[in-house]
């Protein structure tokens, strides 16, 4: 029996095992425990690994973002710090600059002379003159013995400061002194050339009063200054000549455009000159019959009237006529004087000549009524004289030295032969100027 039972068990086992070994994986429903355990172990392992990976991945994801943000933030902070530092520096520099500007403004303001403006201008000269003969006071040719008139040479110097005081846009004070060394006097001569206040009334009229240059004498008013006059000496008749250089009085002057031309005028009333009726030196009565324009006290109570009108028919051409009328004789006499002047100015820049041509001319007439002089009796007291001058400066050439050279030629006339002077004068002056700058010149003549 037991053997049978064993055989049936073995057969059952085979039957049971047989299907296990011989089972084709045709179905997933059954795995062996070993496999199951293996699979479970693998699964667990995988799960574990996955968890680790997950954790690592999460770690990795967190780490770079944090690092980039920190760097940017750090860089931003550094930049912000730099910008802040630079801004602070700029602010400091601007503040310093503002302080300096304020200081400079204050300095300028402190130095500015208020609403009025004072200016010192003027001119000066240093001269050397040499004459071979005929130097000395004028004398009648018939006088004997003739006073020797030897040649002479000397240096001289002058200084003319001009004060210009602009009190407002319409009000101007002009003052000029003349400081000169006298050839026969060790002292320095000081003269008040001009002291005039002018007020611009409107576009066409200016009024003035004081001591002013004689407007009827074109050379005196516009040309006599050392840096304007083109020769070292001055024309015979028009300066220290037949017309007073300056007047004490009042004037009205201005300029009016008339179509394409311009009309300038100046009219005055002033202390009159006085007639010299006696000679300073009776041996040489050459000054008898001349006019003394430096009688500032107007001792004879005469008034002079006169003026000048000028026309500019072309921009480069001016024609002028000046006159002065005055009683000049001593009390009780009716001696009058009529002084007249005609002037011409032509200045033109020429491309053809590569320079500027400058022409000035003026003629003066002096008529003094008949008067019986104590020592000389009556005489024809008419005098006249003038000058014509031409200068040329090649200021358009390339050469810097040549364009500063200016030759000049002047012809002077002074006729007074019928007066106690007794002779006429003629003079040619040939000069050569070199302009150091527009208002500084070396003249030789």
């Amino acid at each position: 029996m037991r053997h049978l039972f064993g055989a049936w068990a073995a057969i059952a086992a085979v039957i049971l095992i047989g299907p296990v070994f011989g089972q084709e994986p045709t179905t997933n429903n059954f795995v062996s425990r070993q496999d199951y355990e293996k699979l479970k172990a693998d699964h667990d392992k995988l799960q574990q690994e996955m968890n680790v990976l997950k954790a690592q991945m999460q770690e990795l994801l967190k780490k770079p973002a944090a690092a980039a943000g920190d760097t940017t933030k750090k860089q931003t902070e550094e930049l912000e710090k730099k910008v802040a530092d630079q801004q602070a520096g700029n602010d400091e520099a601007i503040s310093e600059l503002e302080k300096q500007v304020k200081t400079v403004k204050q300095m300028a303001k402190d130095s500015f002379p208020g609403t009025t403006k004072m200016m010192l201008a003027g001119y000066g000269s240093a001269t050397f003159m040499a004459t071979s003969k005929g130097y000395g006071p004028s004398q009648p040719p018939e006088e004997t013995p003739a006073t020797p008139r030897n040649g002479a040479s000397s240096f001289n110097a002058t200084f003319n400061p001009i004060f210009l005081w602009k009190l407002s846009d319409r009000l101007l004070f002009e003052g000029e002194l003349e400081l000169e060394l006298q050839s026969d006097d060790p002292t320095t001569s000081t003269a008040l050339e001009m002291a005039q206040i002018s007020y611009v009334l409107n576009d066409y009229m200016t009024i003035g009063a004081g001591k002013f240059l004689n407007p009827s004498d074109y050379f005196v008013e516009r040309q006599h200054m050392a840096w304007v006059n083109k020769t070292p000496d001055k024309p015979l008749a028009v300066y220290d000549g037949l017309m007073p250089e300056s007047l004490l009085g009042a004037q009205v002057r201005g300029a009016i455009p008339v179509g394409p031309a311009k009309f300038g005028y100046a009219f005055f009333v002033a202390n009159a000159p006085t007639l010299r009726t006696t000679a300073d030196d009776p041996a040489h009565p050459v000054d008898v019959g001349t006019l003394n324009s430096e009688d500032f006290g107007n001792s004879l109570n005469h008034i002079a009237t006169g003026g000048r009108v000028g026309v500019f028919p072309l921009p480069e051409l001016e024609l002028g006529y000046g006159f002065e009328v005055a009683g000049v004789g001593p009390p009780g006499s009716d001696v009058g004087a009529l002084l007249q002047s005609a002037d011409l100015t032509y200045v033109r820049a020429s491309e053809l000549l590569r320079g500027t041509v400058n022409l000035h001319a003026q003629w003066v007439w002096s008529h003094i009524d008949r008067f019986e002089y104590d020592t000389l009796g009556a005489f024809n007291n008419n005098r006249q004289g003038g000058y014509a001058q031409i200068a040329y400066r090649p200021d358009k050439v390339e050469n810097e030295i040549v364009r500063n050279i200016e030759p000049v030629l002047r012809y002077d006339v002074l006729d007074q032969v019928k007066t106690p002077i007794g002779f006429d004068e003629r003079r040619w002056t040939l000069g050569l100027n070199y302009w150091i700058n527009p208002s500084t010149v070396v003249k030789a003549a």
Partner: protein, 99 residues
């Protein structure tokens, strides 16, 4: 005296002819200041400066003086040289702007 005045007039005429002949050019080839008629309306400050100043003396550069000094100098010139109001204003404006 009449003869000397006549000879003087002749010398002026001679000088004038010489000056005009030498300076006779086409208007367009002269300086800008002299290329136009002398009316303030037509000429600029620069033209008036060159033309008006050279009538008596050499032309000074605008940089010779400050603006404040030019104010004073030009008022002095307006009185002395009988400039018109327009000439005064135009030249002064040019001098102040040119330096």
């Amino acid at each position: 005296m009449k003869r000397s005045f006549n000879s003087f007039l002749l010398s002026i005429a001679a000088f004038s002819l010489l000056a005009c002949g030498c300076a006779s050019t086409k208007q367009t080839s002269g300086t800008p200041a002299q290329a136009q008629a002398p009316t303030g309306k037509e000429q600029t400050g620069a033209q008036l400066w060159a033309q008006t100043c050279m009538h008596c003396h050499n032309v000074r550069s605008p940089s010779a003086y400050s603006d404040a000094q030019w104010d004073t100098v030009m008022l002095h010139m307006r009185v002395r040289a009988t400039l018109t109001a327009q000439e005064h204003k135009a030249i002064l404006a040019f001098l102040k702007s040119a330096h």
